[in-house]
């Protein structure tokens, strides 16, 4: 049996997936990307190999993606996270669609046709509005852990709008809301809604909407808010945080593999 590896070194987390020749996931690993992307990739690989009792020599090919894609010396090939999220999403939903990946530092809108070929894409502009970094800033302001956001937002009963494009100014708006006595859960929901609003304005949808990435994986409320904002159900694949790494592994499986690890 030959195996294929995809490694997605994002701005916040490094995600790794190993698949077999039947395209089944046999192992995965995730850890903070930290400041040494090469080390993070290596640690993810070791963890996934240990969990699956595979040897590195059994990996026929590896594709790296994400911000740290150039920092994986054992990768056979590099692909952008735009290509990999598209490929990973198409694995679960093989039809024409719009994939929206909300990552730690950027958001991507990816259009795929019936064959899974990309017909267009957009990344957010240079600003962190509409990304996980925005939620990190808001959590910091509210003295919350990131893991608390979803649960709080799910309890919200009142709609509050944050209007600023700018993360820093949005945080200022939040201070105003706190001063006005608004509940934390309503403010958190407003922050998640703000992420969705930034994404809605990036592009139009072509076909069904699929959401991927760590932010939606950790905040299912976001999918509900996106469904409302786009007026169509938001599909979320299993292990949404690993979709980019899975896409990279699928690309690796398409390569004429040679042992590289």
């Amino acid at each position: 049996m030959r195996y294929f590896c995809g490694i997605d070194i994002g701005a916040s987390a490094a995600k790794l997936v190993i698949i077999d020749q039947q395209r089944q996931v046999v192992a995965k690993a995730v850890r903070r990307s930290g400041v040494d992307y090469t080390l993070a990739a290596q640690r993810c690989l070791e963890e996934a190999l240990a969990a699956s009792a595979l040897a590195a020599t059994q990996l026929a090919a590896a594709v790296s993606t994400g911000y740290g894609r150039d920092n994986v010396p054992w990768a056979t090939e590099r692909r952008t996270e735009i290509a990999c999220h598209g490929r990973g999403a198409f694995h679960y939903f093989p039809h024409r669609m719009t994939v929206i990946d909300i990552g730690a530092q950027d958001s991507k809108v990816i259009h795929l046709d019936e064959q899974g070929r990309r017909t267009g894409f957009k990344m957010n502009r240079k600003c962190a509005a509409g990304t996980g970094a925005f939620l990190e800033e808001i959590a910091l302001r509210l003295d919350l852990r990131l893991e608390q956001l979803n649960e709080l937002a799910a309890r919200s009963t009142k709609h509050i709008a944050l209007n600023s494009f700018c993360t820093v100014f949005a945080a200022t708006e939040i201070l105003e809301r706190i001063r006005a006595g608004e509940k934390v859960e309503d403010i958190v929901r407003a922050a998640l809604h703000s992420v969705v609003k930034r994404v809605v304005e990036m592009d139009t949808l072509h076909g069904p909407l699929v959401l991927t990435g760590g932010v939606v994986a950790h905040n299912p409320v976001l999918a509900q808010l996106a469904s409302e904002a786009f007026g169509t159900p938001a599909l979320v694949p299993p292990d949404a945080q690993f979709v980019g790494a899975l896409g990279a592994a699928l690309f690796a499986a398409e390569l004429d593999g040679r042992p590289t690890c």
Partner: protein
Amino acid sequence: MSTAPERKEFESSKKLRSVMGQYFAQLGQAAQQGQKVAWCTSVGPAELLRALGFLVYFPENHGAMLGATRMATELIPLANARGFSPDICSYLTSDIGSFIKGETPLKKLGLSGPPRPDVLVFNTNQCRDVQDWFQFYSRYFEVPCLGVFTPRAIGSLSESIIDDVARQLEELVEPLEKIAAMRLDPGRLSEVIELSRQCTVLWKAVLETAAQRPSPITFFDGTTQMGPAVVLRGEQAAVEYYQVLLDELRQRIADGVAAVAGERFRLYWEGMPIWGKLRPLAEQFIELKTCVVASTYCNSWVFEALDPADPFRSMARAYTSIFICRSDPEKEDYIAHMAQQFSIDGIIFHDAKTCPNNSNNRYGMPQRLRDRLGKPYLIINGDLNDLRLYSEEQTRTNIQAFVEQLAES
């Protein structure tokens, strides 16, 4: 990680450096030689100024130099502090910042700074910013600032518009004659216009060699090679230089030499260059085996309407028919024509934050052209000079993803 690929240098680059060096040397000696200097916008009436004996200096060229040397980002805040918004033309703000600080890449060319102007002449065919830019120096140096006000968003170029601009050009003559202390010799004006026309014919032929597959030249080469077409049109030196460059390009074609080895895809660049990032961008495209073969920008110094037999009306027609002052339908037709001529696979739109006049992605044009041509587009957010407005990693990923998309289709 792979080693960055090298750009293919032109044999004629040595001559280019010499031609441009002589141009700046002459400007540097102007005061000493008692020669009058006119500052002119890059698509201003340079032929008229040359015919009146002025040495012509182009602040926009200086702006591009400040961008290319990456001095601009440090200088722009100085102009901002004097009341010039960070949202307006970063050529303007970097040039004024350079003036305030007394730092300029011209020092490496042996000049202490830009030559003192005797007059400043602008044409608003490009934008209104040039007027405010030149008036700043007019106030400082206490010299006249003259202008041609060209209509914007022109659809079909009517005779009434040509009449208006030609009249404005003619009205420049009398004040310019006073400053030059000489009468305009119509024969000399025709000679200069003829040289400018020859420069245009050759520069256009240079750019059209990129229609070959593989292309012998890239947009990034063009941004350097266009120097004489901007600052020396109307001079014999520009004509001679482009003949040499054209010969070299034709030889490249004959020898099958590609500017981008293994050219897989061909792109069109719409918008300003990102001057401080030309090299890394050029190298990334080489790595991706993708050639940016044509651009609106480099073609903006092609003035085919120039006619020595009809100086003023032909100058008016030439300077009013340029892309930047045309309507969106005209611009779309132009890009569609270029896409066909250069067999392009996709279009890159550079949304330059401080240059709305050269950012044509803001009113749905990329989408309209995609639908019309069936070619995908990519929008890059950046700026001509202000690198604070540019994200290198975002841009690299966008370009790589765009080429991946072309490979998939």
